[in-house]
Structure formats: C-alpha cells, structure tokens
Symmetry: C2
Subunit: 357 residues, 2 copies
DNA sequence: CTGTTAGCGCATTCAC
DNA sequence: GTGAATGCGCTAACAG
C-alpha cells in the first residue's frame, strides 16, 4: 500500500499548480481545456481520495439542508432517524451545514400538505432535502417541485416510485411484513385468531410502508396456506386515551385471539394494555425499537420485535448528502438496512445510538 | 450551541501561549507549576474537545500495535474481527500505527503457547496489544507479562477473569447460549433429541467462550424443564475431511435427532452435510455469520443464526486503542455488542462491513 | 486563466 | 520554561 496521493502530487504529475487541480476537482470553472485534460488524465491513473477532515478545515462555504419527516417525539421511531442525522452532523462538525427541520403529523394528511407547501415555497435556497415520506401523492408532488428547481432530495424510511432521489435509505418493507408473519404464526397456537394493529388516520390514506408490509404479510400466509383468521385491530394515534377502550372492545368482540402483530411502530400500546390487564397468554410481535416497545420486550409482553435501524438510515442519509455536496462523491441510490430480530434477551444490547442504559 | 473552543482560545483565556497549553494537554513536561494551574483552571470551566482529524495531520509520532487472535481464514469468524480492525485503521489513516499480526491455531493449545511466547518476548516496543483469547491460562500468563511491562492490552471476542485490560469488546456469551437454547427448542419437535456440535481439540482444553455458552444453554433447559436429550456431536476442525464420517456416524447412532445446535461458528459443516444428503427435516440453529453459515441460511438448511458483530468489535477495539494512545480519551472498560438473530429472509442485509459501518 | 499565498487547528521545533 | 514559527493537506482569495 503506497503513500497517500495528495493534491500537490497530482499537480506535479500533470504539470499544473495545486490551485488548478482544486478548481478542477470542484468544478469551479476558470480552467483551460488543456489543463483539464492533463489533470483528468492523471486522475484516471491514480486514485485520489481527498482528506475530508482536513478539507473541512479550510472550507468556508455553508450548506443548507431541509429535513422533513413525521413528528419526532422522544422515544419514538422518527426521533431515532433524527438522532442518526445529528450523529452524522457531529462526525462532520468541520463542515458548516445548517439544517431546517419541518415535521408533520403522520396521521393527518392535511398537516402533511401544509408543511410540504411551505417547503416547496421556500426551498429555493436549500442545497438538498431529506424526506421521510408518508403520503404518496403529496410527496411525489413535492419531489417534482424540487426536481424542477434542481434540488437533490434523499429519502429515509422508505423510497417512492415516480421520483428520482439522489439516494434512499430504507429497510425492505415487504420482507419486513413477510418476516412479521413468519414470526407471529410460528408462536401463535394453530386454530386461534391473530389480531393486526392498525392506525386510524385523518384523510383516509394509508402510509406507503404499511401497504408494502401488508403485502409481505399476506403473501407469507398464502404461501404457507396458513388458516388463522386475521382480525383488524384499530387504535387512535391522535387520541391515545381512546385506545384503551378500542382494545377492550376488540377483545370482547374476538374471544379467540392467540396472537397480535403490529405492522407499525405502535405495538407498545398493546404490550402496555396486556401488562396492565394481566394478559400473558396472547403472543405479541412488534415493529421498531421505540421506548415503549423496548419496555414491552423487557417485561415479557412482546415476544419478538423487528428493528429497522432508523438511526443508521438517518446517519447514512446525512453522511451521503454531505459527501455528495462537498466532495461530489458518487452515491449509491438504493440502500437497504438490516432487519434485526430482537427478543427480551437481546434488547439490552441494542442501544448503539439511543437509549442510554 | 457555541462555537468550538480551540487551543488558541484556551491559551488566551489562561494568559499563556498555545505551545504551553499543548504541553500541558499532552503531559509533555517543561511547564511551570503556575502555568499548569492557570490552564487547568480554564480547562475545568470550558469543555475542550480536540479536533482529532486535524491533530493527526501534524502528528509525527508512530504507534506500534500487536494483534494476536486465532487464525483468520477468509470468510471465517476471526477474519471479520480483523476486517473491523482494518476499517478503524482506515478511518484514522492520518495516524501512523504499525500493526504486527500474530495468529495461532485455536484448536491447538501448543500453537497458542508458541505464539504467545514470541509476543511476550518482543512486546517491549509495542504501545498496545489487541488479544482475541482462546485458552484461559495461557492468555492470563501473557497478560501478566504485558502488565509488568506497562503495556496496555484489549480483548476482542471475550473478556478474561484475573486480567486488567484497558478495555474489552465482546458479546454476552452466556446470554448467547441461553438464546441458542431458546431458539432451537422453540422449533424442535418435543420428544426428539437435539445434537450439539463440538470441536475436537488438541490439548484437551475448552475455549473460554464455549464454556459460558454451554452454561447459558443448560440453564435455559433447566429453567424451562425442557426434556429433550442433548447428544454430543463431534467434528474435526483440523481435518475437515473426517467430519463427514463423524457426522454420518452420529446420525446412524442417534435415530431421533429433531434439531441440531452449534455453540461455535462451525455449524455450516452440518448445514452443508444436510444439503448434500437431502436432509431437510432436522432443524438447525447456528452461530456467527461466516461465509459457510451464510450459505446455509440462504439455502434454507439453517433456520436461525445468531450474529455477534465481530467486525464491530474489531473496529471498536482499534478505535479505542488509538483514541486512548493518541488523545488520552477516557475509555469504558466493559463493552457488549449486539446479538443479532438472522434468518433466511434477513441475511442478505447483513453485509455492512463486507462490502461497510 | 493560473500560480502563489494565506490561513484552518494542532503538534512540534527552535529561538529566546 | 516559554512564545513564536513551521508544516501537515486543502480551500479560497489574490495578484498576475
């Protein structure tokens, strides 16, 4: 392994000065065609990797990023994504990037429209946008406006068809639903019913991710010809105090529930309901390591939980954004994160970014 | 959030020059008592965090590290630890740290003694040692020699009693065994026997980690009063060609095997045996994402696999070593990594390092 | 257009 | 003992 190649070396090899090489590397113009040719020739031969930590030192330019996701309350799913983003900003503390955060209510399509409208209006002076999408049509419309202005955007949590993001960071939601089905059916007594937790929404639009998970879930059941009946179990995310009644009513209606599965991050509501009502014979499989879900795992109400690595998604998105803007590093568009299966025994070790012990 | 505090700021605040502050920060002596007092007073008030990437830039000193682990063949467990170490070295490419790697045969205690002897003799000029231990007594002896010379050492894979490492990075092997028991018994038909894969060793000494996992395994069975009989299943790591015969003989002897569990990383041998012999009715739970095990997961021979994040352990060990040596950063001694549960559906997404963090 | 130069924050060397 | 000066690799402003 030879010594690192510096800008100065490239300058010497191509017979120009370091300043010129820098101008070429950053597409900053004011360079003659022949100088460009000479340098690019050399760049093809050697592999130059700028020292990003040093370059940040002398970089004067500021970058502006807009981040828009559903509301990120402490201990909930979206907060983990924001935590990952902050972590990346710390790692690149030398780079001046100013973030504007705009969140909307993910259970209220009107809230999303309002926030997207605001972003679309003012986004002219942003260098990039990170989007945590929920509603399909609304997000596609926002992306089109950004595309028209030439502003790159990245997705976290899930990608979206009909858009051309710089890059997206997601788990495979179809596989996630498939796996949820496998886990809950593997521990639910045959012959009993399975409850499926679903959020009530204003504006009657399902989240993009839920649809995919549902497909994966249904496909697993169909493939294996699993006969358990699936019963819809509604809860209110906007008015949590109503959920207790909704759950009580659900279990009064369906007397043969052997297991419950959550295709969204709110399964902790059920875990909490179980532990408060002394219910221990119904199996429970949940999604996302929120604070409530972690508690449910620890006290044994939740049997399995799937983690999607939201912190890592946020981290990678911001890291990619910076490396693209500042160093024009080539980016990989499709990025899938791990689907971790957690149990009571292992949940304690999943605190890499969040939840201090 | 205020602007970052630099050495120059501290110098100004305490009425000395930057050079003096640097001498104090690095305990390099040649500083008057009153200057030290003044600077330390200021350091107490403000929180100074050196920019490690910039400091590497001007650092002339070289560091020497010794790394000793079992042999690290491509695609096997220990290679992942080395991969993590290399990754950390890349992240700190500005710091010149020269690594000497010494590996031994983990199935042959004499090989370990020979390698440790060599290290003990020459370690005088090392700044730190990273140890992947296998044999207890031998490693304790090595650590005592290192301790006497004042050379700090770190463990990866597993800690060791009677030693005082700077830091260790491990999964919880007891919990790992406990979890292996939970997984294999949850899918093995009641009433059938469970095979437990074990390595034959030269020198008749069990690896430290195996003992802990075995305890966790047994405790789970005892707690749940699980009646399945456990049958020892030997294989030869040193002469792989013999393993086929050993396995064939095992299954001829025990006709009622419903599941097999591997408390070490070599379960892939069994997966391979199953797929070559068309055996699909015996459940299999394995440990560690080696190349062979990954294949077993993918082709369906392995039902569950537990991953210990070896890359992350190696990465953190080298990162901690560097931050301690170069920046005197305080270190946390006990560090536990995740225990990931992988299935056929999720294995494809676990390639962060074998690629990236 | 292009070469030169002045920092960025820090460790180190050299005069004082 | 100590402050000032140097250089690490890179960007940006400046003088040609």
């Amino acid at each position: 392994m030879q010594r690192k190649i510096r800008i100065k070396d490239i300058a010497a090899m191509s017979g120009v000065s370091a300043g010129t090489v820098d101008r070429i590397l950053h597409n900053r113009g004011n360079v003659s065609e022949e100088a460009r040719m000479a340098v690019e020739e050399v760049l093809k031969r050697v592999s130059y990797k700028p020292n990003i930590h040093v370059s940040g030192l002398s970089l004067k330019r500021k970058y502006r990023a807009i981040i828009t996701t559903p509301d990120a309350l402490e201990g909930e799913y979206w907060e983990s994504i924001h935590s990952g983003i902050r972590h990346a900003l710390e790692e690149f503390e030398n780079i001046r990037v100013e973030c504007q955060v705009h969140t909307y209510n993910q259970y209220d399509i009107y809230s999303c429209r309002e926030v997207y409208g605001r972003i679309g209006g003012m986004a002219s002076d942003a260098d990039a946008v990170i989007i945590g999408p929920t509603f399909k049509k609304e997000t596609v419309r926002l992306c089109r406006r950004l595309g028209d202005k030439g502003i790159p955007y990245l997705f976290v949590d899930s990608p979206l068809e009909e858009t051309t993001p710089l890059s997206f960071f997601t788990s495979d939601h179809y596989v996630c639903g498939y796996l949820l089905a496998r886990l809950i059916t593997s521990i639910t007594p045959p012959g009993s019913d399975i409850g499926m937790l679903q959020a009530m929404r204003r504006g009657d639009e399902s989240a993009n991710t839920s649809v995919l998970r549902k497909q994966g879930f249904d496909d697993y059941l169909a493939e294996r010809k699993i006969p358990n009946a699936i019963r819809k179990m509604l809860f209110s995310a906007t008015e949590p105090e109503k959920s207790d009644d909704l759950l009580a009513q659900f279990f009064r209606t369906y007397r043969n529930i052997g297991g419950v599965v959550a295709l969204n991050s709110r399964g902790g509501i059920v875990a909490d309901y179980f532990s408060r009502n002394g219910i221990s014979d119904i199996k429970l499989v949940c999604l996302d390591l929120t604070a409530t879900n972690a508690q449910g795992l620890q006290n044994g109400s939740i049997d399995f939980l799937i983690g999607q690595e939201p912190e890592h998604q946020g981290f990678l998105a911001m890291k990619t954004l910076i490396e693209y803007l500042v160093y024009r590093k080539p980016v990989r568009v499709e990025n899938y994160t791990q689907l971790d299966i957690l149990t009571r025994e292992t949940v304690g070790y999943y605190n890499r970014f969040n939840f201090a012990p």
